[in-house]
Symmetry: C2
Subunit: 440 residues, 2 copies
């Protein structure tokens, strides 16, 4: 049985209990959320090393995913495992292996067995890659091959998979009518679209959605419904093809839930900052509060080299509106395959974004953490501050780099406003107000 | 005459013309904005080297300020001049010299003569510092000394000054009633508050506001009304003392405009992301669209070491709601005096934040830049992409770090979705849709 099936039957599983404890909520809260489909727990029992499962969805802390994996040009398993380690060290809640170069099976299995957090994949990459390698072009892929790869991912312990189920011949037509600036920018979605056009066939993931659900159910692989038509430029954001796809995904969410399959929905991508709220609200409505998993979003197209910052800006805001799951963006986005250092930077800024969103969501532990820091800051209690910071080591390093002779930091030294005023306000204020009033 | 006096008389000055050209608007648009007080031009004629003046306010690109300056613990003029250079190189529109260590006069004059962008200061620092040095404590400061320093700043070419005019004995009382987590965190505001309590006297900047206006008018120093009661923790955000001060600042804005003095208003500080909109709207209402200049804002207290990121998140959002002027935050915020590298990082992320805000504001040139990038991106025209990026050198460096054998980047290589689909959609779609329809 899958987590949603247990939940619907009123059963609280061990993993639900574990997640409840981490989130500071009751196990019943988790069970209810999973039963409704408002919370998912990517947790394939075949992923034997999954020590840190997580819940994603309503009422829980915003989660962060880090994409790792080889590319055609850079195949280095050691380095991918290093990225995995760095990502988890800095707080990534899940990992996606997006490898498209080298021995994909070996890489995937190695990442799964080394990952104590849930692992996601995009099986269409492997299916297309295999067929391109064996037959010389991607068009030789058959639906059979694609479903075989999906099943293999389930067997090997993949916890969630991105499936571009919402791109159809009809939506491709709509895309053409739209005349976008950047057409399709989803790698998996684009591959499927050309395959569909080449063969004049419907998307097999859509056409045989029930078959997909059966496999997902068997391994309790959470489906992450991919947004093949996400905008690749802010000029294309919130357009008709994007939103039509989202509407279709909403219908498929309902079918998945009915079939006992956990499901979440993916979202953009490039969106102007003032359209983020609308995008989140539409997903929540159309998809009946299915957990929303966004890539970035990036509120400008011009930030290459610093797209992790751009993504953190969009991510924080989207989380504040209810996005549940942030896919990080690294400084290498739009420029190349990220290095472990890029992974680190991407995770850090995404965790900050999620935390900022959590405050807007009213997550109690996040508020408590901010209260403790602020109280310690006002007392100039540095150790206590570092204890509650999101990244204590990095903060301490900067603090030590330029110490002050005083108990304050070297920015203000003896002119530090913290506490300067406090000792006066209680002692002097009554007296002063009195003098002032008598003077009037 | 000051810029606002010229503008009110219907005169378009040379600096207005220059700014109109940079902003891509008509000189009359600038004149009208300045006359209304919705645009300020910090432009002290005594600042002889001011080659890049800027307009700040409604309808214009969001501007970024970089704070530099020595502290008690770190006095190194060479390094401050290096920070100045780095800040301008990465796009800071203005600089504030917040020095509180060393020979303040010499440092200030050196920064002004080396800065081709407007320079701001906080004169109360220098007044308090002088008196602390000469008399051993800050309480010996007299209003006379404070106004003398302000006048001296005007004479030496300072283009705008932060003046904490809105903290009064009444608002200090309100502060006590509020029982904040972090009391007063404004360095200048805190110093004034303890001085006021010590002497049982009203804030001289408030009491003698007309005298302040006279000096500001004489040198056309734009007044930046400081928010002494800004929150230093998200727990203190949008509270009664903060908003009462803002209300008073709104009244003082009107007095300044009437006196022919350009004026803008400063804002927080630490604000949860979901309270940023309210803060911007209140300033715009109470202060009748006076340009709003915010520090960050920081939507969490826990990000030390990465507060530039936290500030960019708050800054982008606040700019999208209409904030005109972002004061950068560096990674060293809350930890120490920033280094030139920190200045660089702070300016970069703030420029990104401002740009994201500009898109929400509908700034045409920002949209045009994003369109050009996205079109080039879709064509895989790398040189054209770099030409329009916010930070082309950094982007190119990352791109070169990991090149692909293909014309795409090393993330996707031959699987790059850009253009992959394009060539199919026009060729195949009509045919495919037809086949599909006939099949139905």
């Amino acid at each position: 049985m899958t987590q949603i099936e247990f939940a619907k039957k009123g059963i609280i599983t061990d993993v639900m209990k574990k997640i409840a404890e981490y989130e500071g909520v009751s196990p019943e809260f988790i069970r209810e959320g999973v039963a409704k489909g408002e919370i998912v727990i990517p947790f394939n029992p075949e992923h034997k090393n999954l020590k840190k499962p997580c819940g994603i969805g309503k009422g829980l802390k915003t989660k962060v995913n880090a994409n790792i994996g080889t590319s055609f040009d850079y195949v280095n398993l050691e380095q991918e495992l290093e990225k995995l380690k760095v990502a988890i060290e800095y707080g990534a809640d899940t990992i996606m292996d997006l490898s498209t170069g080298g021995d994909l099976k070996k890489i995937r299995e190695s990442i799964i067995s080394n990952s104590e957090v849930p692992v996601g994949t995009v099986p269409v990459y492997e299916a297309e890659f295999r067929v391109a390698k064996e037959k010389g072009n991607i068009f030789e892929m058959t639906p059979e091959m694609l479903f075989e790869v999906i099943e293999e991912h389930g067997r090997s312990g993949v916890d969630f998979i991105t499936v571009h189920v919402g791109i159809t011949l009809e939506s491709i037509k709509r895309l053409r009518n739209q005349r976008r600036t950047t057409g399709i920018v989803s790698r998996g979605g684009g591959l499927l679209a050309v395959w569909m056009l080449h063969h004049g066939r419907e998307n097999p993931l859509y056409e045989e959605f029930d078959r997909l659900l059966e496999i997902a159910r068997e391994y309790d692989m959470t489906l992450s419904l991919g947004d093949a038509l996400r905008p690749g430029s802010i000029l294309d954001a919130t357009d008709r093809p994007q939103i039509e796809e989202l509407i279709l995904l909403g219908e498929l969410v309902e079918r998945a839930r009915k079939a006992g399959v956990q499901v979440m929905v993916e979202g953009p991508g490039h969106i102007p900052i003032n359209e983020i709220k609308t995008n989140v609200e539409m997903e929540k409505k159309f998809c009946k509060n299915a957990p929303f998993y966004v890539l970035g979003p990036l509120p400008c197209d011009t930030g290459a080299g610093f797209d992790h910052i751009v993504g953190a800006i969009g991510g924080a805001l989207s989380a504040s509106y209810g996005v549940d799951f942030l896919c990080y963006v690294t400084p290498a986005e739009h420029l190349g395959l990220p290095t472990p250092e890029h992974v680190k930077q991407g995770v850090i800024v995404s965790k900050i974004a999620g935390h900022i969103g959590d405050l807007a969501k009213g997550i109690k532990s996040a508020w408590e953490q901010n209260r403790k820091i602020s109280e310690a800051r006002y007392r100039l209690d540095w150790d206590e501050q570092f204890r509650h910071m999101l990244f204590p080591e990095e903060a301490r390093k900067l603090y030590e780099q330029r110490r002050s002779e005083t108990s304050a930091c070297s920015m203000c030294g003896p002119f530090c406003p913290m506490n300067l005023f406090e000792k006066y306000v209680e002692e002097k204020l009554d007296e002063v107000i009195k003098v002032k009033r008598e003077g009037v």
